[in-house]
Structure formats: structure tokens, C-alpha cells
């Protein structure tokens, strides 16, 4: 029983500290000072740095989706509808979720490891001693980069996925290019596009805030840094799937 109470207390403490960090970050967003160099650097590291992995993920997901859809649609003699299936899947779900999972693996772990190392080597304390608020210097630039760059990466991932699917459709499935693109457009409603654009903002926010929170709560030397890195990826990935479900449900209620 005591173990359960301690476990619940520890969980509540984590939630409290997470909410506190997010509220401090919100305050830092609207008050000076800003560290513009760090903001630009994080946009580069999180956005441009994740480009390769997102391009590859998007491309191969689109390609395999076209292959699998082609097989299934063949059973109904509807191979020409492959674009419709691919676009709906990529824009609404696979693009945002797979991009977010890739970013959670690459960026979430990187943030937790970097901030965790700074915690255990007293660099965060040194920052505060030198008159710098770590939330403004370290967390806000990462949160802004996550908020802005994850939707941007998702758009690229979806575009590349549709291109990959087009490649497979015309070369393997022998469907005409114009039929494919027409089907892609026909398969999408404006609400689907909005859903594909809105969701990555939430997912990007969740990934970086969890990475920052876990990093700044690191204790216990290098072993603690390793633990934080793992926790950031696991918690970030699970949070992506949970938040994706919740936001999808909310958007369906609001838009459809």
C-alpha cells in the first residue's frame, strides 16, 4: 500500500513539475529577455536536422502504402482508387503520427540527454548563477522549434509520401499519373487537410516539452542521463499516440 501511495505521489509530482515548466515557458514567451541565437539554432537542429529521417520515413511509408493498397483494391477491381486511400491515410494519420514518432526518437532523446547532462554537471545551476533563466535560454527555444518545425516536417513528409506512392502507382501498379493525382485530390476534404495541419502542432509541443521536462529532472550522474533519455523516448512516443487520439477525437467533433 505504501508503495502505491509513493508511486501516486511521485506521479503527481511529475505532473505538477511539468505543468509548472509549461506555465513558466508560456510566461517566457511573452516577456523579455529572448535568446534569438538559441531560437534560430534550435530551429536548425530540430527542423533541418530531422529532415533526412522524415524524408526517408515519408517516402517509404507512401511507397509501401501504395503497394498494400493496390493489393487490397485489386480484389474489388478498384486499383485506380489507390491515390484516394493513400492521401487520406497520409494526410490525416500516418504523416503526422510517423513524423512525430521519428522526431520523438531523434529530438526528444537528444533534448533529454543534453539537458540531463547539463543538470548532472551543474551547468544548469551555473546558468542560473550567471543570471540566466534556463527556461528562457534552453526550454523556450526548443518548444518554439518543436511547435513550428514539426508541422513543417509533417507537410514535407506527407508530400514526399504522396510522391513515393505516385512512383509505385505508375511503375508497379501501372495506373496513369493523372488518375492517381485526381484520386489523391478527390480523396481529401478540406477538414482532412486542417486535421493534418493542426495535429502536428500538438504533437510537436508534447515531444519537446516532455524532452525538456525529463532532461531538467535528471538526477544521478551518467546513469541518470541514460535513464532520462530512455524515458523521454518512451514517454514522448506514448504521449504522441495518446494526444493524437484525443486531438483527432476533438477535431472530428468540431469539424466533421
Amino acid at each position: 500500500m505504501a508503495f502505491l501511495v509513493d508511486w501516486v505521489k511521485a506521479g503527481l509530482l511529475e505532473v505538477q513539475e511539468f505543468v509548472r515548466m509549461v506555465s513558466q515557458t508560456s510566461r517566457a514567451l511573452f516577456t523579455k529577455p529572448y535568446y534569438f541565437r538559441d531560437i534560430v539554432e534550435q530551429f536548425d537542429r530540430i527542423g533541418v536536422g530531422s529532415m533526412t529521417v522524415v524524408l526517408l520515413t515519408g517516402m517509404f511509408t507512401g511507397m509501401v502504402l501504395a503497394l498494400q493498397s493496390g493489393l487490397t483494391l485489386d480484389q474489388f477491381g478498384a486499383r485506380s482508387m489507390v491515390g484516394r486511400l493513400v492521401s487520406a491515410s497520409m494526410v490525416k494519420e500516418l504523416g503526422p503520427v510517423l513524423t512525430a514518432l521519428m522526431v520523438a526518437g531523434r529530438v526528444g532523446s537528444g533534448i533529454a540527454a543534453e539537458l540531463g547532462s547539463m543538470m548532472v554537471t551543474d551547468q544548469i545551476a551555473a546558468l542560473r548563477a550567471l543570471g540566466t533563466d534556463p527556461i528562457r535560454k534552453l526550454v523556450l527555444p526548443r518548444v518554439l522549434a518543436g511547435l513550428i518545425m514539426v508541422p513543417f516536417l509533417t507537410c514535407i513528409s506527407v508530400a514526399v509520401g504522396l510522391l513515393g506512392a505516385w512512383l509505385i502507382t505508375i511503375t508497379q501498379l501501372k495506373v496513369a499519373s493523372s488518375v492517381y493525382w485526381n484520386s489523391v485530390v478527390m480523396g481529401l476534404y478540406i477538414q482532412d487537410v486542417w486535421m493534418g495541419i493542426i495535429k502536428p502542432f500538438f504533437l510537436g509541443f508534447v515531444i519537446v516539452t516532455i524532452g525538456c521536462h525529463v532532461g531538467l529532472r535528471t538526477r544521478g550522474g551518467t546513469q541518470g542521463v541514460g535513464r532520462s533519455t530512455t524515458n523521454a523516448v518512451v514517454a514522448g512516443s506514448v504521449a504522441v499516440l495518446v494526444v493524437n487520439f484525443l486531438v483527432t477525437k476533438l477535431l472530428i467533433v468540431l469539424m466533421y
Partner: protein, 284 residues
């Protein structure tokens, strides 16, 4: 623009002139859960003097430095730094107080991703309105002071342990703080390198007028800092054995289980060790 110390009101300046109470602890206590870290700690650091905290690991020495910086908050008691009560300040208010404080962390706590120049000039480059050129001149000046001018463009990972500590001292002193806090500045260093660090502490105190608190369990370094003095000679400097009066300005505080078990100067510490088994064991 010449880099100057943070300005203070005239009355405060007079009150905190040499020998004034620049850091005051009054019955400060701190616990983490059921573990008592500090119990009713009271002391005063006088301007231009050195306070040396001794004690076993976990005795609460580093915690005192973190309380002064506002990195931790006391459960009870009152703390004054530079004439301002800091124990009830918010983090934003503490940022102002920290402008006049410098801290040398254990192992240096240098920023890995920045060069020595960027580390040393961090406060000037990022947290002040000092023009870049002026800040750069100051960085070169303080690196020259600690004898590491030629390492200015290296990364911390390319430096030895002793060099990292000296860069940390340079970083702490770059913005000309009135108070410097040293957390185990010589732990893990060989005796020769330790003396170079001790010399920097003495130089800052005697040549720059910086008040300092040194936390250590290295007795040899503690006595060296207390019993030596620095003076300017022909544009350089010299470290000599201090007079008895000068040595007495450095006060020792021995912490034991979060409480003060001894407070006095070097000679009193040696005398007390003959009748106090804990101090005797510590000094032997």
C-alpha cells in the same frame, strides 16, 4: 564603456565598505524530507575577508553556497547578501542579486558547447549591455589574470582539470562581482595545481578586493589561502606569507551534521583541535 561593478546606493556602499557585513546568515535551517541539512546556521562574511567552510562530505557546506545564490530556499532563518534580504526573494528578483555574485562550481561546470572565450564572457555577452569589443577585452584580461590567455579559443574538453577550474574562476570574476563563492575548488587536483588555484583565490581577495567564501575539505589549501597574501610588484604580483593580523581576517567554520561545531581563525582552529576529537580527526 568600462566594465564596472554593479552600483549600490551611497549609504549601502558605506555600510558595506571593507569589514562591513556583506553576507549574513541568521539561524538558517534546511531539511530535505526528514534529513536535516543545516540547523540554525549563523555567520557573517565581512567585506574583503574570506570565510572557509570545512567539514566532511554531506555536512552541508555546498548547500550554504547554493542558499546564498538562491539556487535553494531555506526552510527558516534570514539571509542577507550585499545588503539585501534574499531568503524570501523570487527567482526574478534573485537574478539582480546574482549580478554581484560569482560562483566556482565543483568540477568547474563549464558549458561544453562553448569555447573558453564564450564561457568566460558568458555573462558579459549574454546578460549585459557591454559592447562586444569591450567584453572581449575583459575576457582576455581575466584569462591573462589566471594565466590561460593562450587557451581562449579552446573548448573545455581540451583543458586539464586544473585549467578548467581556472577558467571557471575567470568566468566567475569576469563581470567584477563583489563576492566570489568557491565550491571545492581544488578537490581532485594535484598539490601543485591546487596551489595555483589557491593563488588565484588570494589574488582576487587581496588585489581585487573580492569577498570570498571557500568550501573545501582540503585542509592544506584552506590554511594556505588563510595564511598567505598577494601584493602587486612591478606590474606583476607576489604571494607571501601573511602577517598574523591578515591571517586572522580569514575565518574558519567547521560544519558537523548540519551544525557549526567550530568558528574562528586558523590559530584558534589548531588550538581547538587539541581538545576536540572531531576537529582533531579532521585535521590529522
Amino acid at each position: 564603456m568600462v566594465i564596472e561593478r554593479a552600483s549600490r546606493p551611497t549609504l549601502l556602499e558605506e555600510a558595506l565598505a571593507f569589514g562591513g557585513p556583506i553576507v549574513v546568515f541568521d539561524r538558517v535551517s534546511l531539511s530535505f524530507d526528514d534529513k536535516v541539512i543545516l540547523r540554525d546556521i549563523s555567520f557573517t562574511l565581512k567585506t574583503g575577508h574570506t570565510k572557509i567552510f570545512l567539514g566532511a562530505s554531506g555536512a552541508g557546506k555546498s548547500t550554504i553556497l547554493r542558499l546564498i545564490l538562491g539556487l535553494l530556499k531555506a526552510d527558516s532563518g534570514v539571509i542577507f547578501v550585499n545588503g539585501e534580504r534574499v531568503d524570501n526573494m523570487t527567482e526574478d528578483q534573485m537574478m539582480q542579486v546574482r549580478g554581484d555574485l560569482g560562483m566556482v562550481f565543483q568540477e568547474g561546470a563549464l558549458f561544453d558547447s562553448l569555447s573558453v572565450r564564450e564561457n568566460v564572457g558568458y555573462k558579459l555577452f549574454e546578460e549585459s549591455n557591454v559592447p562586444f569589443d569591450q567584453a572581449n577585452v575583459r575576457v582576455e584580461e581575466v584569462l591573462g589574470f589566471v594565466g590561460l590567455a593562450e587557451y581562449i579559443d579552446r573548448k573545455p574538453s581540451e583543458l586539464s582539470g586544473g585549467q578548467r577550474r581556472r577558467v571557471a574562476i575567470a568566468r566567475a570574476m569576469a563581470a567584477k562581482p563583489r563576492i566570489l563563492l568557491y565550491d571545492e575548488p581544488t578537490t581532485g587536483l594535484d598539490p601543485i595545481t591546487s596551489v595555483t588555484i589557491d593563488d588565484e583565490i588570494i589574488k582576487l581577495r587581496d588585489l581585487e578586493g573580492v569577498s570570498s567564501i571557500v568550501v573545501t575539505h582540503q585542509l592544506r589549501d584552506a590554511f594556505y589561502v588563510a595564511e598567505h597574501t598577494a601584493s602587486r610588484v612591478n606590474g606583476g604580483h607576489r604571494i607571501d606569507r601573511a602577517s598574523v593580523e591578515k591571517s586572522d581576517e580569514a575565518e574558519f567554520i567547521m560544519l558537523k551534521d548540519g551544525s557549526i561545531s567550530f568558528e574562528g581563525n586558523a590559530s584558534e582552529l589548531r588550538t581547538t583541535s587539541q581538545r576536540d576529537p572531531y576537529i582533531s580527526a579532521f585535521l590529522s
